[in-house]
Amino acid sequence: MTGVSQKFQRRMLRTLLAVALGLLLWGLIRLWMDGIGHHAALAEFARLDTIAHFLRAILRAEPVALLAAGMALVAVTPALRLLLLFIDFAAQRDALYAVICVVVGAVIVVGGVIRLP
């Protein structure tokens, strides 16, 4: 990975993790203040089943949506590192490893769409 990519990656990871922790803390404090119980929170979480619902809940700063956003930001960090690596390999015209990055990304996406009976 080039020096520029490494520097950008470090800044991106720091920013994302800081924002994620901020959202998680904000969400937890809101949960404590609003007195939302575990089961009610899980029901709220289940309702965030579409991007539109999720974004609306974020805009209303609903506590469970804030927690979900924080978790999503943490979960997305390795995927962004993969994307940076893909760009890096593509820029070096390294087709084999660019394709490998795509394959790994595809496996991650497939894992998220499989539903067990």
Binding site: M1, Q6, Q9, R10, L13, R14, L16, L17, A20, L21, L24, L25, G27, L28, L31, W32, G37, H38, H39, A41, L42, F45, V64, L67, A68, G70, M71, V74, A75, T77, P78, A79, R81, L82, L85, D88, L96, Y97, I100, C101, V103, V104, V107, I108, V109, V110, G111, G112, V113, I114, R115, L116
Partner: protein, 294 residues
């Protein structure tokens, strides 16, 4: 003696603040000790939640996987120089590890939690043994060039105090096969399985130890995100459990990474490994207890 401190289900419902503070503190300690002894800390999160708080095994493993991602990304964010990681080896092996992780996570969704507890106990013992082995960098530039490694352009070099040192990657295909198993264990038990990855890269593929640890750190985040996608799809992600874990483990790991240069780690390492064996016994006890009801 079972180490259940509280019924977390009811604690989380009746005293969410107490639950959150307990988990934040516990995850911070896990992250700190994990960083001090060179483990991610995620391996301690599941026992903390299951044994310490009485949580459901699969929910705990989901939270642990997020903790693994956070510590992996946190370590990369704080590393000033990244000339050690071999991204070609990392990506080549990640194909196997992510496939294994998805399969492992699907198996975890179907598995009996008691069996998962037993497997986790065994894994802790293996981790303690593997972590006990003190490793030094061994020079591998004298090894022959492996034809497959040459075709995949896996050989590389890394910087030492004496300049750049070349190394030749050996046995990439057996390494690939081991990574499927490491990925499966990661998905099945909600851990990063960095120790297994390092052993495969270091002992089997003859990658220098420092290179294998930094490459493994990059890999565990990707493997964990493959499992997280399955855990989320199967409904094993609980934001009220994951949030305090993340809030504790990230600062804990950062503190641990700073303390590692100040503290005498050898003593801590011994204590940590003993603690790991005690936790392993607790997990085995719990698993057997659920399988063989009295």
């Amino acid at each position: 003696m079972e180490l259940v401190l509280a019924d977390a289900g009811s604690l989380l419902d009746r005293h969410p603040l107490a639950f959150d503070l307990l988990v934040i503190l516990g995850a911070a300690v896990a992250g700190c000790f994990g960083a001090l002894v060179g483990l991610g800390g995620g391996i301690l999160v599941t026992p903390l939640l299951v044994l310490g708080c009485g949580m459901d095994m699969k929910t705990a493993m989901g939270a642990s996987l997020l903790a693994v991602i956070a510590t992996s990304s946190g370590a990369a964010a704080n590393r000033t120089k990244d000339s050690l990681s071999n991204y070609r080896v990392g990506m080549f092996l990640e194909v196997a590890a992510t496939i294994g992780a998805v399969v492992g996570a699907l198996l975890a969704a179907l598995a009996d939690p008691a069996w998962l507890a037993l497997l986790f106990g065994c894994l802790l013992i293996v981790t303690a043994i593997l972590t006990w082995r003190k490793k030094e960098d061994t020079l591998t530039h004298h090894l022959p060039v492996d034809p497959m490694s040459k075709r995949l352009r896996l050989d590389s070099r890394y910087e030492t105090r004496d300049g750049w040192v070349r190394y030749h990657i050996q046995r990439p295909m057996p390494g690939f096969a081991v990574m499927i198993a490491a990925g499966m264990i990661s998905g099945l038990l909600g851990i990063g399985s960095g120790v297994l990855k390092v052993v495969a890269m270091d002992s089997l593929m003859k990658m220098p130890f420092r290179v294998s640890t930094t490459t493994s750190n990059f890999m565990i985040g990707l493997t964990a995100v493959a499992s997280v996608s399955v855990y989320t799809a199967q409904g094993f992600m609980d934001p009220l459990v994951a949030a305090p874990v993340l809030l504790g483990i990230v600062p804990g790991a950062m503190i641990g990474a700073r303390l590692v240069t100040v503290l005498k780690v050898r003593m801590l390492r011994t204590l940590f490994l003993l603690a790991l064996l005690i936790i392993a016994a607790q997990m085995l006890f719990r698993g057997f207890g659920e399988l063989v009801p009295t």
